[in-house]
Amino acid sequence: MFRFLHAFKGVKYYLFVSFILWTSILVPKFALAQTDSLKANNLKEIKITQKRSSLQNLSPTPLQILNGTALKKLNSLSVADAIRYFSGVQLKDYGGIGGLKTINVRSMGTNHTAVFYDGVQLGNAQNGQVDLGKFSLDNIEEISLYSGQKSELLMPAKAFASASSLYLKSIVPTFEANQNRNFRIALKTGSFGLIDPSVTYNQRLNHKLSVSLNAELINANGKYKYRYTNSVYDTTVVRHNADIFAKRIEGGLYGTTADSSIWQLKLYNYNSERGVPGAIVANRFEFPQRQWDDNFFVQSSYQNNFNKKLQFLVNAKYAYDFTRYLDPERVSLSGALDNRYAHQELYLSFASQYHLTKYWDLSLSTDYTFQKLDANLENFAYPERQTGLIAFATKLSWQRFSIQGNILTTLVADRVKNNSPAGDKAEYTPTLMASWQPFAKDNLRLRAFYKSIFRMPTFNDLYYTFIGNSKLNPEYTTQYDFGFTYSKSFERKRLTNISIQADAYYSAVRDKIIAIPTLTLFRWTMVNLGKVEVKGLETNIQSNWVIDQVQVIAKANYTYERALDVTPRSEVFGQQIPYIPINSGSITFGVDYKNFGFNYSYIYTGERYSQKANIPVNYVEPWYTHDLALRYSFTVAKINYSIATEMNNVFNQYYDVVLNYPMPGRNFRITLITKFN
């Protein structure tokens, strides 16, 4: 049972040796400073930093951004790894490369965070969750998280329709002067038997049109050691059935028209097969369940800029998501359990913004979504959902003060072939937000927002055979947030920039629908938690330093959160809800010197309870990981190379984010990237 795989050990030592090799042997050899490109890079980075900090400073809703180089510096393979550095966020991580990873912002629950890919929401009416582990950082330029919503007016109605929004922006091709194409080839390898090659090809077809192609393969055996101990027993086992083989292809066409309108057409396909490793329980360390995914979408957007008074934004999307789940242990008369789900979505959005006066803007956005789920289950409901969203928003803004508000109308109608559908819904929900700079000289801004919104019960909540309940109500959230942002830049000082944002918030979730994983990740038990009150504090501090040729970025995040079950008459009234730590935070520390980059990051998640009752048997230990990365880049014969080595979880801490789903201990990764024209 407790196998120590020699092969596995071998890989680990190989990686460790490689890490030393890369850092000590190769690095000095290539230490030929490319000062020109370095300068350019530094300038670019400072620009990005300034842009980000001014966006964050002005936003009336808390905004956290990771972009460009900051994103590359973090020891992250997928979007899920990167968002661990945000405050107010809990990542539900089932461990390993293929494990389900979902985001929970301010303890309101996964389903309250909308995830947007290039401006269009990744919709999933089946379970309302987006597995962020499926989104590789290979082709991501920027990740931004808005608590509440984005404060823009010209955006799809869906952007008004959730309690918080995570925006993923893919890399838009850029070309140097006199260059019409470029290539990027990357290879990542390391622990878990990871082999992850990717290739990007960008071509400028003419001055108004460019094309981008990006493809990636992720192959890993997913094996890693984990350890459980109570100080008497001490068991180390290798995680099995955590392998993954995934293919991702993205293509984009990026155009501008004669009237300087911009448009985009995007194709995306992600296809994978993986093991579903299962909950580790006494006497059970191996599982045979498998899962296949095929996610395809085509989306297009068009933004019209020809008129200064009136702007349009049009979005359209078709998505097809297929999932197959095979459980060889559950054999019925028709063979092993083999569930197949096909989710389709058609989405159309039309948004317009009108500049009434210099200070006053109005906008109207209307979205239509059609979603449909097929499955090979007996007595399946075959649900179809039509959703209409109408958002009316207005904004008054002056140099030092802005206020904006919107009303969102949501119309939902479900149809089912079997059993009874959920009743039609019509909901009207408001948002109000403001930002104020009290002193003209100081870059201090106070901000506040109020937002009321809900999430619809998913198809699984409503129609899943035996578990579903078509009489479920939407789950409502009400949020209040009050905070400040402050930033200051210094000329000719070592400390070049410091920015701080801090927010206190209160959220209430009522009619909360909670899903707790049962035998496998794929099957859930519906639990109605009823009512939750969340009181929290979030702070982010960032400082940039330049000391001679050394640039230093130091960041810290801290979140304090009480998320209490306040369901009337509940036996756990006033207790912290499952999996929400009271204290959590992260620290990152980056140093750049010439062509070298070093990054250290630390993530802390405090003690939690795995179930509703805050009692000793449900106690889950805190966990904290230290990650290190070293990068070196150089250019030889017009080809730019960069090598990054990472050591994650340096002190080899064994921990569970989700009880009985062990996380990897110390692990390594090497990334090689070449760019050329």
Partner: protein
């Protein structure tokens, strides 16, 4: 130089606080003790309570109520067996005593645990994947497994002697004379449930015949008159659960009660039945308690809780009757993810006490002298 010094300071402070902060060692979770009224010195030493714990949570646990001292010891397995990796395991599904040993079926962990009945210390383990229930006859333990067989285990050597093929997803068993009766559910094929009891000849360890009863059979208890009480779970839809009596002499259905039944226990001349059903009209669980005289198979009026305290019980799940006092124990599984409650009622149906248990208290067994 000031600034670089401050960087160093910040870094040093950050690193040292982080690196030296330590997790408190979880260690062995000790049992908890709650003082309850004692039950005096009788032929019963106490009551073992097996808590299932939710699927995948690995939170199955054992409690023990000591009759003489009145001490309720919650979560005793960990302290008694600190060396057992990850504890008792996932979803305890049955607990029985045979001789001086306590047998515990742990379904999600795929094992039959054999413990010393006095100390709850582990003696041995038999791996049986997806095992469900255990029963005994002449120094053999019989264990149903969802793969469609009954494992025959020698209680001295703990070896599996034989596997007897029965129906799909077999559940509870009962021994009458030299025959073992097995309730087949076929629960994995909802369009084609099993609807039979398997009859096993214990002399040959072979399935002799099947008795047609109803779909999706689950509970199976023998009375002292040679009858079997068997429940059908129905299809969770239009076909409700039901209770049947089988005469082992004719090996045929003798009576259908047309009452819903989710669990039952038989003590001397009475069967105590609890029923939890889902009502789509009220969107709530409908709970009922009924009592049947097994001598003449008549339903006694008024159930068996008489003081109105049944309103406290959200989800009655396990039931047992003290063989000496005929006091009735009922467990409340509540929402399946919070600690449950064990209730004790006297034989007239008045509540004596209640106490918090582990998650999903479900299976009860009396430790007798």
């Amino acid at each position: 130089m000031k600034k670089s010094l401050s960087i160093k300071l910040i870094t040093a402070v950050c690193l040292s606080t982080i690196l030296w902060s330590c997790r408190k060692d979880k260690g062995v979770t000790p049992e908890e003790q709650i003082q309850l009224p004692g039950q005096g010195i009788t032929a019963v030493n106490g009551l073992y309570v097996l808590n299932e714990g939710n699927w995948g949570s690995n939170k199955s646990s054992i409690d023990y109520y000591d009759y003489a001292t009145g001490v309720y010891r919650r979560n005793i397995y960990g302290q008694a067996n600190p060396g057992a990796t990850l504890g008792l395991g996932d979803v305890g599904n049955d607990i029985k005593i045979y001789g001086s040993k306590l047998y515990v079926i742990v379904n999600g962990s795929g094992k039959l645990e054999i413990l010393d009945v006095k100390t709850a210390k582990k003696l041995s383990q038999v791996d049986i994947s997806n095992c469900r229930y255990v029963t005994f006859h002449k120094n053999k333990a019989y264990v149903t497994a969802y793969d469609g067989y009954v494992a025959v285990i020698d209680t001295a050597s703990y070896k599996i002697d034989a596997k007897i093929t029965v129906g799909r997803q077999p559940e509870e068993m009962a021994v009458v004379g030299e025959k073992l009766y097995v309730a087949n559910s076929g629960g994995y094929s909802s369009s084609n449930y099993e609807r039979t009891l398997s009859v096993i000849d214990l002399a040959t360890n072979k399935e002799a015949k099947r008795i047609d009863v109803a779909i999706n059979l689950h509970r199976l208890k023998a009375d002292q008159y040679g009858d079997l009480y068997v429940t059908s779970r129905g299809n969770y839809g239009d076909i409700k659960s039901n209770l049947y009596v089988i005469d082992t002499k004719t090996e045929a259905v003798k009576k259908k009660f047309d009452i819903e039944a989710s669990n039952l226990v038989i003590d001397k001349d009475f069967a105590y039945i609890i029923s939890t059903a889902w009502s789509n009209t009220t969107m709530s669980t409908v709970v009922s308690y009924s009592k049947i005289n097994v001598k003449d198979e008549s339903i006694a009026a008024g159930g068996f809780i008489t003081d109105g305290t049944q309103k406290e019980i959200v989800m009655p799940y396990g039931i047992a009757v003290d063989p000496i006092s005929s006091d009735i124990y009922i467990t409340d599984a509540k929402d399946y993810v919070t600690p449950g409650t064990l209730y004790l009622f006297d034989k007239t149906g008045k509540k004596k006490f209640s106490v918090a248990t582990g998650d999903i208290p479900a299976h009860l067994v009396f430790y007798t002298k």
